[in-house]
Amino acid sequence: MTQTEPSPPSARQKWMSILARASAEELAVRLAALPPLPAGETLRAPETGLVMVRGRAGGDGDSFNLGEMTVTRCAIRLGAHIGHAYIAGRDLAKARLAALLDAALQDAALHDALMRAVVEPVAAAQQEARALEARKAAATRVDFFTMATMR
């Protein structure tokens, strides 16, 4: 089987992953500063299910089932745009909010304001949290070395 090189994530993939990682409170707080979003039509109400996560031993071995994870998904239509959300866990309100935001972000009239007010600050906070964790981990790093035995 030929492996295709993964394409770089599109702008939409990036904001979807940022929204999926954010907490519902965080999104609600950021949204409160903006005029309320138009109400969308629920195509698929938030529903929780299991997704089998698969892995490959060593990156190129046979694929195996690593385990199941809880995923909540939701789809909302806003005008001509359909917003989707697939989030880890069972937070229904967050799935709905993320789907609504995904739909609104595809709307050129709302895109820039939402990127500025919601996606970029949330992304910065996530980046900050990751950097903090990396610094904490780096502070406890032990460098192992092997002394060459000389005879």
Binding site: E41, L43, R44, E47, R77, A80, I82
Partner: protein, 191 residues
């Protein structure tokens, strides 16, 4: 891009109610049942046919249809059923226009008769108490069913299908929110 519309208002309860109505219809061939689900499928699909497919079709049941891209997209989104162009490999076939011949559908095998396809046939109307005379399992004496807009030559094609039992094709007739079923065991005589 076509506009996707919602499926069942309550996916669990509406699917259960629809499944119950289909079960009743299959157990009492020719008796008309109403599917009381809250659903507005895209045209030209009627609510009974839409509810039946959302209840029955899933990722394991290839689906053949002649209802156009909007309906195909709606069904793919809401039930995840793969859409096939090869009617012989379909588990469910949805006919809104000219009905395909029953012989073109998968009739299963003697070992696995449950693999026979189900044809969901959208017709103009269903009237009980007149028309065809149905006899067979599930019917004490006879059931009368008049199908408005039944395909030409359907009764003759049905006789051939019925003779294949236990193999064969089952038919769900849908009109508006009403359904009636013709399981492969039923015999039809012109009224």
């Amino acid at each position: 891009m076509t506009r996707l519309t919602p499926g069942f208002a309550d996916p669990v309860l509406d699917a259960q109610a629809s499944f119950r109505a289909i079960l009743e219809a299959m157990s009492r061939p020719g008796r008309i049942q109403r599917i009381e689900a809250h659903i507005t499928p895209p045209a030209p699909l009627c609510s009974a046919a839409g509810a039946a497919l959302l209840s029955l079709a899933d990722a394991d049941t290839p689906l053949w249809l002649d209802a156009g891209d909007t309906v195909a997209e709606w069904l793919r989104f809401h039930c995840g059923a793969p859409i096939t162009n090869d009617i012989g490999s379909a588990r469910f076939a949805l006919a809104c226009g000219t009905a395909p011949s029953l012989a073109a559908l998968d009739i299963g095998t003697d070992e696995d008769p449950q693999l026979g396809a189900t044809l969901i046939l959208q017709v103009a109307g269903l009237v009980a108490g007149e028309g065809w005379r149905l006899t067979g399992p599930g019917i004490q004496h006879e059931h009368r069913l008049s199908v408005i807009g039944a395909p030409a030559g359907f009764v003759a094609a049905w006789a051939q299908n019925q003779a294949l039992f236990p193999r064969g094709v089952d038919v769900l007739l849908c009109a508006g929110d009403s359904i009636a079923a013709l399981p492969r065991s039923v015999m039809i005589a012109e009224g």
